[in-house]
């Protein structure tokens, strides 16, 4: 609080100033479009994009596609996340399991999961399972790595203290190992959320009959540029939203960490 080094009383040091540039950008974009300096067949104006959103909202298409995309993303995230978490948990706590599987997982991890697309299409076709599969594979590795590293990096001295205090294996895990690795796990989750949306965008663009990606591809065929841009904005909003939610979780779960960092 009384931290002189970090206090800066310049006129630009407030909550609103960082928003000036984005607002100038959008206004400029609108003006350039309105006076036909940029033709709207190349890039629709922000207002046109908003109008497209309202139109699709009224026909309820917008809600439907966003809902389906979100559903796919979350199902894939939970499947991949749980697999990654459980693997990280086992390999972080059981040496046998680490020796058996960690090297293999690290090797497989180096394959970019989107390179699997041709294979996935052959296996699953372009149905729901293909998209969920891609998301799950993408999400699995960052969660695995961060869970594993988080557990491995828990202070050995605290674990030793726990064993002197006669904690059972289970209490050692719930009281020391899990909370100690939580910051790292949460970093993994936030990173994985980004991977989740990226995987879904690619999967939906390749083939879908519903979802935001489908909106984009079918709009492209009819040269509905406003909808194409709208889908990009939708992905951006969803990505930002999930990050904000994850951050809130982090703040709640790591209250002690905030106290620690303040020092």
């Amino acid at each position: 609080m009384g931290d002189k080094l970090n206090r800066n009383t310049g006129w630009y040091n407030n909550r609103f100033f960082p928003w000036v540039l984005p607002i100038v950008f959008v206004v400029l974009w609108q003006v350039l479009g309105q006076y036909n300096i940029i033709t709207s067949t190349l890039l629709p104006t922000p207002l046109e994009v908003v109008q497209a959103a309202i139109r699709l909202f009224n026909t309820e298409e917008l809600q439907e596609h966003v809902f389906i995309s979100t559903q796919r993303a979350l199902i894939g995230f939970f499947i991949g996340g749980i697999i990654g978490f459980v693997l990280g948990l086992f390999n972080g706590t059981i040496l046998f399991s680490e020796k058996l599987t960690d090297t293999t997982i690290q090797m497989v991890r180096t394959i970019p999961h989107l390179a699997l697309i041709p294979l996935v299409i052959l296996w699953f076709g372009i149905g729901e399972s293909a998209k969920v599969f891609l998301v799950a594979v993408g999400v699995m590795f960052p969660i695995y790595i961060n869970t594993f590293n988080g557990i491995k990096n828990v202070d050995r001295k605290l674990i030793e203290m726990g064993s002197v205090y006669g904690l059972s294996r289970w209490r050692l895990f719930t009281n020391i190992i899990l909370p100690g690795s939580l910051p790292s796990i949460l970093v993994g989750i936030r990173y994985a959320l980004g991977v989740m949306w990226m995987s879904l965008i690619v999967a939906e663009t390749i083939g879908a009959d519903s979802g935001i990606g489908f909106m984009a591809t079918s709009a492209r065929e009819f040269m509905q540029m406003d909808i194409v841009v709208l889908t990009i904005v939708l992905y951006a909003i969803l990505g930002k939203l999930s990050d904000v939610i994850a951050k809130l979780f982090e703040q709640r779960l790591l209250k002690w960490n905030a106290a620690f960092n303040k020092k």
């Binding site: 203290m161 002197v164 205090y165 909370p179 002690w256 960490n257 106290a259």
Partner: protein, 231 residues
């Protein structure tokens, strides 16, 4: 209640023989201090008694009328509090119930800090929480591995008084490792000097409590210091 019996205990790490031929019997409820140069094996001895290390040679026994295992706690040089638990819950980790945890927080005089995080406390306060955590389980044996080493002189004296008072009250067996000879003479009934892995001096401190720095006090101080420096 337990006595601690070490018979011909030796400990080696590879070729490095850290302790050898340690014969030591520590009576229940007594206060023993272990002093010696850095690296002489003091912490190793404590860790053996706490069963954090296996002996390489000899035996460690806990004798007494009871058949159960003794409850042993350590206070380390660093506090080892869990930063994700508030102070009360840190203490509850070592305790059977919340009531005892609160009681022992009261004993160290930090009840008003019960719902703060450990990282909001000073170094001395953290060590007091660590002491409360050790006490909350009503230990049979309490091992101190230089828990006051990092504290300033005033806080140290306060903590010494606190430890002495609680020991007199609860009668746990105390084993204090310290490099501060005055601290050893101030607190212990018996001071053991370790050098080159063996016990060089085993001195009863026959002074009434609370102890004051009189002639006899300095006599013990000198004797022990000479042994450490001369040996």
């Amino acid at each position: 209640m337990f006595n601690i019996e070490l018979k011909d205990v030796g400990k080696s790490y590879g070729d490095n023989e850290v302790l050898r031929g340690i014969d030591l019997s520590i009576e229940q409820g007594s206060f023993t201090a272990i002093v010696g140069r850095s690296g002489c094996g003091k912490s190793t001895l404590l860790r053996i008694i706490a069963k954090l290390e296996e002996v390489s040679k000899g035996t460690l026994l806990f004798t007494g009328e009871e058949t159960k295992e003794p409850k042993i706690r350590i206070m380390f040089q660093d506090d080892r509090l869990l930063p994700w638990k508030n102070n009360l819950n840190n203490i509850a980790l070592g305790s059977v119930n919340q009531m005892l945890a609160k009681e022992s927080l009261e004993k160290v005089g930090l009840i008003d800090k019960q719902s703060d995080w450990p990282d909001q406390l000073s170094g001395g306060q953290k060590q007091r929480i660590a002491l409360a955590r050790a006490l909350a389980s009503n230990p049979d044996i309490l091992l101190f591995d230089e828990p006051l080493g990092a504290l300033d002189a005033l806080t140290r004296m306060e903590m010494q008084k606190l430890i002495e008072g609680l020991w007199e009250q609860q009668q746990f067996t105390s084993l204090l490792v310290t490099h501060d000879v005055t601290e050893a003479v101030h607190l212990a009934d018996r001071v053991i000097v370790i050098d080159k892995g063996v016990i060089q001096l085993d001195e009863e401190i026959d002074l009434p409590r609370p102890r004051v720095r009189n002639e006899k006090f300095t006599y013990y101080e000198k004797k022990i210091l000479n042994q450490i420096l001369g040996g």
